[in-house]
């Protein structure tokens, strides 16, 4: 098991989250390095989404710490954490052009960016996601795959310190999922922003991961490279998650 992380961007220590009497995260430790793509695998109900929400500040742990770039953020509101979350169910503004949808997060209260900077960021994100040709199209006229690209673009324009993805490709057609997986792999190389990516798709997990973290029983049950997790799963449950039985 290799858990030596160079220049950590995110450190979770002993994080506990409970819903009522149910323990979801039970003293979870996790360190994510700069530039790393960490895949989080786990069965339904294992707490994968809760983990992302805790990092984003949408869920406050009852114990433990969340540090981002060396600063304790355990009780900081989401807006101060500079992390972006992409869900499988995204929302775009119908009637607005793709351009306006992409620019909107940059016009949020507290962000004082000039129109030139906003334009430049929108163009940059659109180019990376191959949607330059769609910038003036109304959002509701896009295909599912195009909409998901715009949703990712809305996170991208912010240039956050950490990207959190919660099964972003799950609602797409199998074929499209395959294509976007390849694009995401190419994209992350150009970005240099750490990503924590929750999925239950084995191909996606193995293909994208620098490391795979397996969440079970409220803690990280195994963490390591795709190869090591595939070749030496610590439990039968981990093997099953990877489709090995």
């Amino acid at each position: 098991m290799s858990d030596a992380v160079q220049s950590p961007v995110l450190v979770l220590g002993g994080v506990r989250v409970e819903f009522g009497r149910k323990s979801v995260l039970a003293g979870l430790d996790l360190t994510v390095g700069a530039n790393e793509l960490l895949i989080v695998l786990g069965a339904t109900g294992a707490g994968k989404t809760t983990l992302l929400r805790t990092i984003a500040g949408l869920q406050t742990p009852i114990a433990g710490t969340v540090a981002i770039a060396g600063v304790d953020m355990t009780h900081a509101p989401p807006g101060l954490r500079d992390v972006a979350l992409v869900f499988q169910n995204f929302s775009l503004y119908p009637g607005w052009s793709v351009r306006r949808n992409l620019a909107f997060p940059l016009r949020a209260p507290g962000r004082q960016l000039s129109d030139d900077v906003i334009d430049e960021r929108v163009t940059w994100a659109a180019r990376l996601l191959h949607i330059e040709g769609l910038l003036d199209k109304p959002a509701e006229r896009l295909s599912g795959g195009q909409m998901q690209r715009v949703a990712i673009g809305r996170a991208l324009v912010r240039r956050p310190r950490i990207f959190l993805f919660d099964e972003p490709l799950t609602n797409l057609d199998a074929k499209l999922r395959e294509e976007l997986r390849v694009e995401l792999a190419l994209l992350r190389r150009q970005l240099g922003i750490p990503m924590i990516y929750v999925t239950h798709d084995r191909s996606e997990a193995l293909a994208l991961a620098d490391r795979i973290a397996v969440l079970a029983g409220g803690v990280i049950a195994q963490i390591g490279s795709s190869e090591s997790v595939w070749n030496t799963p610590v439990t039968a449950a981990v093997a099953a998650l990877l489709g090995r039985s």
């Binding site: 109900g45 057609d173 798709d201 084995r202 293909a207 595939w230 990877l242």
Partner: protein, 356 residues
């Protein structure tokens, strides 16, 4: 013997949108047929017309020798399995599962056996005494699916029933559906956009695109002998690679003058521009610079897949994917030669996309 026959079944909506253009399909009794295609191809509309949930605006549907085109769903004896179901909140999981059997008068002893069997298959045995609200979302969905599968009507219509489940559960439920369908010989029409699911379950696959049937055949036929570029790309994970080339009397020649392969053209062969199709597993990756045939390409992405790797490489702007052993490593940016195996090569018309 044909159990379900669709004759020129069409659906045009009031606003003029054509969802299905006259589809012909004959399904044998006990057969498992999968409608496969991207979203918007008309597969779900076709299924809903068979169920009677959607009215066909053209053609006729025949079920067990009887025209049912205009009959309401209740008079068709079909079981419809959706992705989402409602459970009765005041009934335990066991009673929710037994309910459809009780409704058709199955004796209690058999009910108990079938409830236990289906509960074990979807992995909810330990939840049988729980109420729906005590279950997680995923468990509720498994129970709903189990309840839909416990009935054995003459025809099962399934609309992506495994769509939102975890991969592991999907695989075990897929196997369960398959086993039940075989054992009880319930004729089944199953809709999915996931070609792996289609290949796993189907006796025959119907590939649809833009409201039309593009090909009907066994999974092997669809995979190995696609009749068009669309089918060749849509089926297979990843889909088929396409390489523009010219067929000459000597072989298949690439734009840069290299040969993809040398052979004697048969006298019946049409010479000229073609699209060469080759699946990722039929592309050999070589690093031997002296290789005389094949495409010269640069590695852009290496996707580890546990038991294999998908190597993506660019050849003069053409993106190709090769499926290689997990132990074979190529650095990003490395120059490689991609050589197709002769038996994996398919040719397509560059204009119509039809197989040659």
């Amino acid at each position: 013997m044909t159990f379900l026959a669709l004759n020129a079944v069409a659906k045009t909506y009031a606003d003029g949108t054509i969802a299905v253009h006259g589809v012909d399909l004959a399904v044998d009794e006990g057969e498992f047929v999968v409608l496969l295609g991207p979203s918007g191809c008309g597969k779900t509309t076709t299924l809903r017309m068979v169920a009677g949930l959607e009215r066909a605006t053209g053609g006729s549907i025949q079920l067990a020798g009887k025209i049912v085109t205009d009959l309401p769903p209740s008079q068709r004896d079909v079981g419809f399995v959706f992705q989402f179901y409602a459970l009765y909140p005041h009934l335990t999981v066991r009673d929710n599962l037994a309910f459809p059997l009780e409704a058709v008068g199955v004796p209690w002893r058999e009910r108990a056996v079938r409830v236990n069997e289906v509960a074990a298959a979807v992995g909810v045995t330990e939840l049988l005494s729980a109420l729906p609200r005590q279950l997680s979302g995923g468990d509720q969905q498994r129970v709903s699916l189990a309840r839909a599968l416990i009935r054995r009507p003459r025809l099962w219509l399934m609309d992506e029933p495994l769509g939102t489940l975890d991969a592991a559960v999907r695989a075990s439920l897929g196997a369960f559906i398959h086993e039940q369908q075989r054992r009880h010989r319930v004729t089944t029409l199953f809709v999915t956009h996931d070609q792996e699911e289609a290949m796993q379950l189907a006796d025959r696959v119907v590939v649809m695109e833009a409201g039309r049937i593009r090909q009907v055949g066994t999974p092997t036929a669809i995979h190995d002998a696609p009749r068009s570029r669309f089918v060749a790309h849509f089926v297979g994970s990843p889909g088929m690679n396409f390489i523009p080339a010219t067929r000459t009397a000597q072989g298949l020649c690439l734009a840069d003058g290299r040969h993809l392969m040398i052979h004697n053209a048969a006298s019946t062969d049409v010479l000229g521009p073609v699209i060469v199709g080759v699946r990722p597993q039929w592309l050999q990756v070589s690093t031997d610079e002296s290789e005389k045939v094949g495409l010269v390409a640069t590695v852009v992405l290496d996707e580890y897949q546990g038991d294999h790797r998908l190597l993506h490489a660019d050849a003069e702007g053409l993106r190709l994917v090769a499926r290689i052993p997990a132990t074979q490593r190529h650095a990003l940016g490395a120059r490689v030669i991609l050589v197709p195996h002769a038996e994996g090569i398919r040719l397509f018309d560059p204009h119509s996309g039809a197989a040659l």
